[in-house]
């Protein structure tokens, strides 16, 4: 194909998306500035020696003199995580839905497509530019989050890996989610008659998808938890930085699991008596170890990335019929 026409269609795509790209860059710059400010404050607090006596475990530590719980200021970090979680919705509504929808509503695609460029060039150049910008923006925002989070990661006075803002607001899944939002918005912009309707539908679809993935995290649907058992009545393994699934109790010799309330005693003679009486041989709990952060990340990335590819393929197939 004529390379000057590719150049031309990219020029037009940039001409129409440069405002959005500018807004994206401004948001990124603001996030980076805020991150640098609060991160240095966090490092100062850590260097002060106040947290040196704290265990890495989930039990919050207190000031040795006053007994007040010691916590880092991680609220702004969680806001950035929340922004990263909302990114597919924002990108889908404001970038994806108007990408084809605006031209279709105004009829301007007819003017562009009667020039020298083909439908394929027109779509490919504008979608590629939007996708590249979305990947860059989401990747850098996820990077900023990781950089900011690292000193406070998995500390009782910081942010554990399984907190929603950390698990869903960091890593490669943020990039895949941004692409999913863009692809969903683009397709809905092609299907809906009006841009506003497309934006509303995109809000619904991407919002629902975000909630569904949060639900799969909470129920451990895609990343099942491990079962940790402690034989007899010896003390349980510490939960540490594992993410409890909320299921725990007693196991009989045949493997039956029962509610912990059947023997509601702390470790000791009473518990041992009770367990012997009822035939329990061990205690158990279900939890995801810290390494499962990546299992959650990659399953989310696969689901969202796969959906993004699928929706883009549908858009390409429908392009000739709808435009």
């Amino acid at each position: 194909m004529n390379s000057s026409l590719w150049h031309g269609s990219l020029w037009l795509a940039w001409r129409q998306q440069r405002v959005l790209a500018g807004v994206g860059a401004a948001v990124l710059a603001a996030a980076a500035a805020i991150a640098a400010y609060y991160r240095s404050g966090m490092l100062d607090a850590l260097r002060s020696g106040l947290f040196d006596h704290c265990d890495p475990g989930p039990v919050s530590c207190t000031r040795s003199d006053t007994g007040v719980p010691l916590l880092l200021d991680i609220q702004p970090l969680q806001y950035l995580g929340a922004l990263n979680i909302a990114l597919p919705v924002i990108i889908g509504v404001f970038w994806g839905a108007p990408l084809l929808g605006r031209d279709r509503e105004l009829g301007t695609h007819r003017m562009v497509l009667t020039q020298g460029v083909s439908r394929g060039q027109w779509f490919a150049s504008r979608f590629a530019l939007a996708a590249a910008t979305a990947v860059t923006l989401s990747g850098l925002l996820a990077g900023v989050f990781a950089w900011w989070w690292r000193p406070a990661a998995d500390r009782s006075y910081g942010l554990f890996w399984y907190e929603t803002t950390a698990l869903s607001g960091s890593g490669p899944r943020v990039v895949a989610a941004a692409l999913f939002g863009l692809a969903a918005g683009t397709l809905l912009g092609l299907l809906a008659r009006r841009v506003l309707a497309a934006m509303g539908l995109t809000l619904l679809v991407t919002g629902a998808m975000t909630l569904v993935l949060e639900w799969t995290h909470k129920t451990r649907l895609l990343v099942p938890p491990h079962i940790y058992t402690s034989a007899g009545s010896v003390p349980k393994l510490p939960m540490g930085e594992k993410w409890s699934a909320g299921h725990y109790g007693l196991i009989t010799a045949s493997g039956r699991r029962d509610d912990v309330m059947n023997c509601p005693f702390p470790s000791g003679a009473q518990l041992k008596d009770c367990m012997d009486r009822n035939g329990y041989v061990a205690r158990f709990y279900e939890a995801n170890p810290a390494g499962d952060y990546w299992a959650f990340q990659w399953t989310d990335t696969a689901v969202l990335g796969g959906l993004a590819l699928l929706l883009t393929a549908v858009t390409v197939l429908l392009l000739r019929r709808r435009i």
Binding site: Q16, L106, G107, R110, Q115
Partner: protein, 306 residues
């Protein structure tokens, strides 16, 4: 350009199109050839399929049956996109672009671009290049859209109701500019219009659509020569039967006025007038579709159909 070997500007064979799989046909069984180098008037009533035909020729729609060729190329194919320009009825433009941006876009999106021609078209309308398209009047916008179409130096220019937003002076100017370009470069033009008088002077080929079918595809002069307007006693209508085609007729009392396509000498006592192209087109647009041959039908019937 206009010799016998030149490709037809437009050629359709068995062309059919419908907007939805289960809806009626917007165009059906269209079969015609428009030679190149012609200024073609595409006429038809509202909903006859004019815009659909132009969109098919411009590659914005795809035929559901048969085929259409522009300059022997498939509409929408790269060689067709480079040589055919289409200006659609709504004349969409990016309202936030300046006029200069819009022309720059034309330059970027076409493999060849005649900046001088495009800027001249805009300048003739005294439109400042720095103005935003959204601030222009509809007529000025039409001119910018036309500049975009002319800048790519098309061999075939398809115009859908181009003059609808223009004042009479601008109409004349733009028509003159188009005719000059057509003459200079042998550009073919197909333009649809409801304003029949403006076609009288400019068009030398006629494509007439009715209910999605092509009714006429003929040289304008040949049409003028073959048609007559007859006025006379209604009871001698039978003398027309068989040898001539009555396109349209109107009876007032015992007097009959008929637009007739002549196939040989006339018999009977008729007052004969040469019709203008407009009369011929209106006659064909009003005609009772199914059967153009005159039938011994009661006069009320043709009256009702008129």
């Amino acid at each position: 350009m206009t010799g016998p070997d030149a490709p037809a500007a437009l050629r359709a064979t068995g062309l059919g199109f419908r907007y939805r799989a289960r809806s009626g046909w917007a165009l059906r069984d269209c079969e015609f050839t428009v030679p190149s180098g012609r200024i073609t008037a595409l006429v038809g009533r509202n909903g006859a399929g004019k815009s659909t035909l132009l969109h098919l020729a411009g590659g914005l729609l795809h035929a559901d049956a048969g085929e259409i060729r522009v300059l022997d190329a498939v509409p929408g194919a790269p060689e067709a996109r480079a040589r055919v320009a289409l200006l659609t009825q709504d004349k969409p433009l990016y309202l936030r672009f300046t006029v200069a941006d819009t022309l720059r876009m034309g330059e970027k999106l076409n493999s060849s671009w005649d900046r001088a021609a495009a800027e001249q078209t805009v300048r003739e309308g005294s439109i400042p290049l720095t103005a935003r398209v959204g601030e222009l009047s509809p007529g000025q916008r039409t001119r910018v859209a036309l500049a975009l179409a002319l800048g790519k130096r098309p061999e075939l220019l398809l115009l859908d109701e181009p003059m609808a937003d223009l004042d009479p002076v601008a109409r004349g100017e733009i028509m003159a500019a188009l005719m000059a370009q057509a003459a200079d470069r042998g550009m073919s033009i197909v333009l649809s219009s409801h304003v029949l008088p403006e076609l009288e002077q400019t068009c030398d080929w006629v494509l007439l659509l009715r209910n999605g079918r092509i009714e006429l595809s003929e040289d304008a002069d040949a049409l003028r020569e073959s048609h007559v307007i007859l006025t006379g006693q209604a009871d001698q209508a039978d003398t027309l039967a068989g040898c001539h085609t009555v396109v349209h007729r109107r009876t007032a009392g015992r007097q009959l006025t008929a637009l007739v396509r002549q196939h040989g000498p006339l018999h009977g006592d008729w007052h004969v007038e040469r019709p203008r192209l407009e009369d011929i087109l209106v006659g064909h647009l009003q005609a009772d579709g199914a059967d153009d041959m005159v039938r011994p039908a009661p006069a009320e019937r043709t009256e009702a159909a008129a």
